[in-house]
């Protein structure tokens, strides 16, 4: 290599290890022992929800992280418990908790209310709920895989997975009338039936994904660049996952066989013998790194396809709701008294709704929601420990915390603030990919 002077603008330096250390620390002779604070957010492209992360970094290494949440707090539970909203209106509200798992929350909520009010759900309605929620899992996992590829600087893969994802949105639109916010569950059943003309379309989508799954596994798991960026990065050990009560794919990637569909089957899930997927099912020893999380999520797409297939084959005939008339449903709910718990394995993990109903009252007395990301946030602490700044986007994304729009990182150095944009941070991540490719 020819001699290059980092200070010479005519002869720009390609990113290398030494130069980069100088860039981030302001001189190789100082700073390795110093700790800087790097705040990210709340407007933040690696996380959809506004959240603030303050990293303490020594050199390129992260030594600590602080999490501040609450920027997206909309007071949904409070609004749901207000007088004057009846339960069907609250159901509409529960769908707006999250736009990506927009059937998971209503499923947990309707189950809680059904348990409290003693409402039976007809078998056909249970099957339709299962089908919609598994379709949602496919859409959510593909969405995550695309975002993860983008965080690694692999935009080709982002566009590939998002193109593939449009198919499942088409099917959801066909079945429910909307691409997002399907409005399928209602207390005592579902709103829409799956008609005979719709079956072939769903089967066609299943065949489409069956053919593609192997390709997707190949593109993600057997790619040397993806491996270099994700193996050994953001490790969450089994013990830590257990101790921090991680849920969903985050816990399963660490080797915990933990899945609400397996542990406490609800709706029709006991008919399908769901088994929690860990990297062992792919012939790997679970490490708990980002690679394992990709493995688990992609295998779960296949598992969802199996469940939808079985559900379509064994679909029972009959009613789709035990209360075809909404006024009768509302009258029943008004008389009901008691408390109920509803749970569901959302794409990100277990979601729990608790409700309490009072007789003679149309609205909810108590409503408590526990979303999966809430359980998974704490697992960021061990995952970020001793990782590089360039790995922040992928580690932040790997628990799938409802992801979208980052904005800047401030590095405070000698009292001066330096702004790092989303692009700057992503560029750092992409440069690392290029460096590892060489």
């Amino acid at each position: 290599m020819s001699e290059r002077n980092p200070k010479d603008p005519e002869n720009p330096v390609l990113p290398g290890v030494e130069e980069e250390r100088e860039v981030t620390l302001g001189g190789p002779e100082r700073g390795l022992a110093e700790v800087f604070e790097v705040p990210i957010g709340p407007i933040h492209p690696a996380l959809k929800e506004p959240i603030r992360l303050t990293f303490r970094v020594r050199g390129e290494r992260i030594v600590g992280v602080q999490i501040r949440t609450g920027f997206a707090h909309r007071g949904i539970e409070f609004m749901g418990m207000r007088q004057g909203r009846n339960l069907v209106q609250v159901l509409y509200l529960s769908e707006r908790i999250c736009g990506i798992c927009s059937v998971s929350h209503p499923i947990a909520f309707t189950q809680a209310v059904e348990r409290a009010a003693g409402i039976e759900v007809p078998p056909r309605a249970q099957y339709i709920r299962v089908i919609i929620s598994e379709l949602e899992r496919i859409h959510s996992h593909l969405l995550w895989a695309g975002v993860a590829a983008h965080e690694l600087g692999f935009d080709t893969l982002l566009h590939l997975t998002w193109r593939v994802r449009e198919k499942v949105l088409d099917i959801l639109e066909e079945l429910s009338g909307n691409r997002i916010n399907y409005a399928i569950p209602i207390f005592g059943g579902v709103r829409r039936d799956i008609t005979p003309e719709q079956y072939p379309k769903v089967w066609e989508a299943i065949r489409y994904y069956r053919g593609l799954l192997e390709q997707l596994l190949d593109a993600f798991l057997r790619d040397p660049t993806v491996e270099a960026r994700t193996r050994g990065v953001g490790v969450l050990e089994r013990k830590e996952a257990e101790g921090l009560c991680a849920v969903g794919p985050t816990a399963r990637a660490s080797g915990l066989r933990k899945d609400v569909r397996q542990d406490r089957p609800y709706l029709a899930y006991s008919d399908f013998q769901v088994r929690a997927i860990t990297p062992k099912d792919y012939g790997l020893t679970p490490v708990g790194d980002v690679y394992d999380k990709i493995v688990v999520r992609l295998l779960e797409v296949g598992q969802s396809l199996d469940i939808i297939e079985k559900a379509l084959e064994n679909m029972p005939e009959g009613e789709i709701t035990s209360f075809p008339k909404i006024p009768a449903l509302l009258a029943h709910l008004k008389k009901a008294e008691g408390e109920g718990l509803g749970w569901h394995e959302a794409p990100r993990g277990e979601v729990i709704h608790y409700v309490r109903l009072a007789a003679g009252d149309e609205s909810l007395l108590v409503w408590k929601v526990k979303a999966p990301t809430y359980s998974n946030l704490l697992s960021w602490y061990p995952m970020f420990e001793d990782q590089e700044i360039a790995d922040i986007p992928i580690i932040a994304a790997c628990i799938d915390p409802c992801i979208c729009c980052m904005d800047r990182v401030y590095i405070v150095r000698d009292g001066k603030e330096e702004a790092w944009t989303k692009e700057g941070l992503l560029r750092l991540s992409w440069e690392k990919t290029r460096r590892l490719q060489r």
Partner: protein, 142 residues
């Protein structure tokens, strides 16, 4: 000032102010191959300082209001603001929340509203195209 650049490319910055992710993933869907707005030169940028259009989603929660104003101030003129989604346009279902200070037009001036919960990607593209028309008009005045 000459604004012919807008005829070729439009850079968009996306701010989520407490949205449920529904609109946000539809915005990303508009960028990916099925809808592919990049063929019109529309692309998402990472900082408001590079943006011509602000895409705002969400009902504006109390902590985000101040930050939304700051993002608006950082966007260079001439600019257009597009609100995506029912809750940003009218507060929607969140109208009685204690932590929501929106809708967006109470915090910053808004040019285009895209209603829907969430709006389809076609509707979002339509909203951005309306913003282009607005920017061209602004340009003619300058």
């Amino acid at each position: 000032m000459k604004l012919s650049a807008f005829k070729r490319a439009l850079w968009v910055f996306h701010v989520a102010t407490g949205s449920c992710n529904g609109c946000d993933i539809e915005i990303v869907a508009a960028l990916t191959p099925r809808y592919d707005v990049e063929r019109f030169g529309i692309r998402l940028v990472g900082t408001p300082r590079h943006a011509d259009v602000l895409l705002v989603t969400g009902p504006v929660t109390r902590p985000m209001a101040e930050r939304l104003k700051r993002v608006y101030a950082q966007t260079p003129d001439p600019k257009a603001v597009v609100v995506v989604g029912g809750c940003g346009s009218t507060s929607g279902v969140f109208y009685e929340s204690y932590n929501v200070v929106g809708p967006v037009d109470r915090i910053i001036p808004v040019d285009v509203y895209v209603p829907g919960c969430p709006p389809r990607p076609e509707a979002i593209i339509d909203g951005v195209v309306k913003a282009v028309a607005k920017l061209e008009k602004l340009g003619a005045k300058v």
